[in-house]
């Protein structure tokens, strides 16, 4: 946790966090801010930006700004949903596979290997076909496909810490596996996990955008950022700047998430050693 708060104090971390807070706010109040009803078709189609329509209208006469604002929750929260599902399915087996015995480890490894082998988009389409083309089902599909990387990352982190000498020391006191995980392993896996989550959310947002671009998950005419980009592509000749606004939002969110992930990764890992070096005074060079 210290790592995360430390990262938020760096410039990169603070900027990223600010952008994300803005995006979240947008996702919550966006639809309320929309000046026009995003679903109402209008007569003025493909209008350039004007006083009445700040970003113009699309091919059905709908106000672009309203559609983007209204599309915020669908785009952002669905990504969170997918990542959340992936987290639960991936993290718990990831950490426990190191401590619950060989058989359990083997089973989780094989299951995850199987999931990794699934071709991503085809799987999403198949789930949509099977469970119905609605947003939550699509997010479950995305979540399942995100799970293996969460599994691998947390497993790798847990493994690297499971053999630490201080873990052995705790075991020699008679501590249970649960106690060891809680006291020694969890807090060290957490920074890695936060970075992975930030990256996965960024990826998830892109995936959701791609899926809605293809028409999977969110049924039109519900606006989503990816869907808006898709529908506007057909009219690039008339409105070349069409996809710019929704793409900008996607870029800003994904960029901020990646930036935050980098900031956390860069601040983590020195475990107070930097502090101790400063404490020994005047940059004492520990070479001899």
């Amino acid at each position: 946790m210290r790592t995360v708060t430390a990262a938020l104090r760096t410039r990169a971390g603070a900027v990223a966090a600010a952008v994300l807070v803005a995006v979240l706010l947008l996702a919550v109040v966006g639809p309320l801010l929309a000046p026009y009803d995003p679903l109402r078709n209008g007569a003025d189609i493909l209008q350039p930006p004007s006083a009445a329509h700040w970003f113009g209208t699309d091919y059905l006469g709908r106000d672009v700004l309203s559609r983007v604002l209204a599309g915020a929750p669908a785009s952002v929260f669905t990504a969170f949903e997918a990542v959340g599902i992936g987290l639960v399915i991936g993290v718990v087996p990831g950490i426990t596979s190191v401590h619950l015995g060989r058989a359990y480890e083997w089973i989780t490894l094989r299951v995850m290997d199987g999931l990794i082998a699934l071709p991503f988009l085809i799987f999403a389409i198949a789930v949509a076909a099977l469970l119905g083309n609605a947003v939550h089902q699509a997010m479950v599909a995305v979540g399942i496909l995100l799970a293996p990387s969460f599994y691998r990352i947390t497993r790798a982190a847990a493994l690297s810490h499971a053999n630490a000498q201080y873990v052995t020391a705790a075991q020699l006191f008679g501590a249970s596996t649960w106690w060891v995980l809680r006291a020694h392993v969890w807090s060290k896996v957490l920074p890695t996990l936060v970075v992975a989550t930030a990256n996965a959310t960024a990826g998830g947002l892109l995936v959701v955008s791609s899926l809605t671009f293809l028409g999977i998950g969110v049924v039109p005419p519900e606006p989503t950022w990816g869907g808006i980009v898709a529908s506007d592509l057909g009219y690039l000749t008339q409105r070349p700047y069409g996809p710019v606004l929704p793409s900008l939002f996607i870029m800003a969110t994904v960029g901020a998430l990646n930036l935050l992930a980098d900031a956390i990764r860069d601040t983590g890992g020195d475990h107070g050693r930097a502090r101790s070096l400063r404490r020994t005074g005047a940059g004492r060079v520990r070479l001899t």
Partner: protein, 294 residues
Amino acid sequence: MSVSPDPATAAREAAEAAGPGAAARETLLSVRGLRVSVADGSEVLHGVDLDVPRGSAVGLVGESGSGKTLTCRAVLGLLPAGVEVTGGEITLDGTELTALPAARRARLRGTDLAAVFQDPASYLNPSIAVGAQLAEVLRVKVGLGRRAARHRAVELLGAMGLRHPEHVSRQYPFELSGGMLQRVLIAMSITAGPRLLIADEATTALDVTVQAEVLELLAELRRDRGLTLVVVSHDLAVISQVCDTVHVFRDGGVVEAGPTRQVLRAPRHPYTRELIDNHERFGIGRVREQRSRS
């Protein structure tokens, strides 16, 4: 088990000795008033003086942070980024080292000046067999052809005391023990026939019987090849076994220096006395003393 230099090196040495005005200097390495500072300006080495006579073994003893390794790195020209020599001079056989451009300095390493350090495995490429790595040095620094280099590499490994050198030369670093790896590194360091070898805590991480063997090897190299040694250690006993003179380092400076026997028998500086006491509190000496008193 003698260690004869290869023909190329022997020829070069003979030529040098016969060169015009090249009277063999008594002092091989001389360090005067060496000062080293770090990036923020604070000084970490405060005017170190060191004289290494040709063919001798000089010991640098002190605890971690005392400046002994820093001195060696300054001599080798291998100070880390942000750390630099801010005063004094280092003279190797008449050549002032600090004034040399980096490229020339680099050429001296291996051919005039060599070093082995504490963790031998980290100085070797883990994915190349040790014989090949040794042969590479022979090709680059001595100019031998491929086959000659491979052959000479096996010879050198044998001369370093490794049993079954042909087999060892085909092994990878992870297959060899610390003592064997250190021998490989010593072999690599003497291929180009340097005049001075710096052994910086070279035996610290080794088992005590292996340490004795490596120290014996160094003594042999000194005897048979006229190699001058600078031995750095935190262990006074190691220094006392190998070195003629000792310099006691503390907090970036030399507090006492002199012939080993003399310094050990009659230390002048209280810190030296403390180091000697530490040794006699716990160790074989203590047991012998207890026995002789009872």
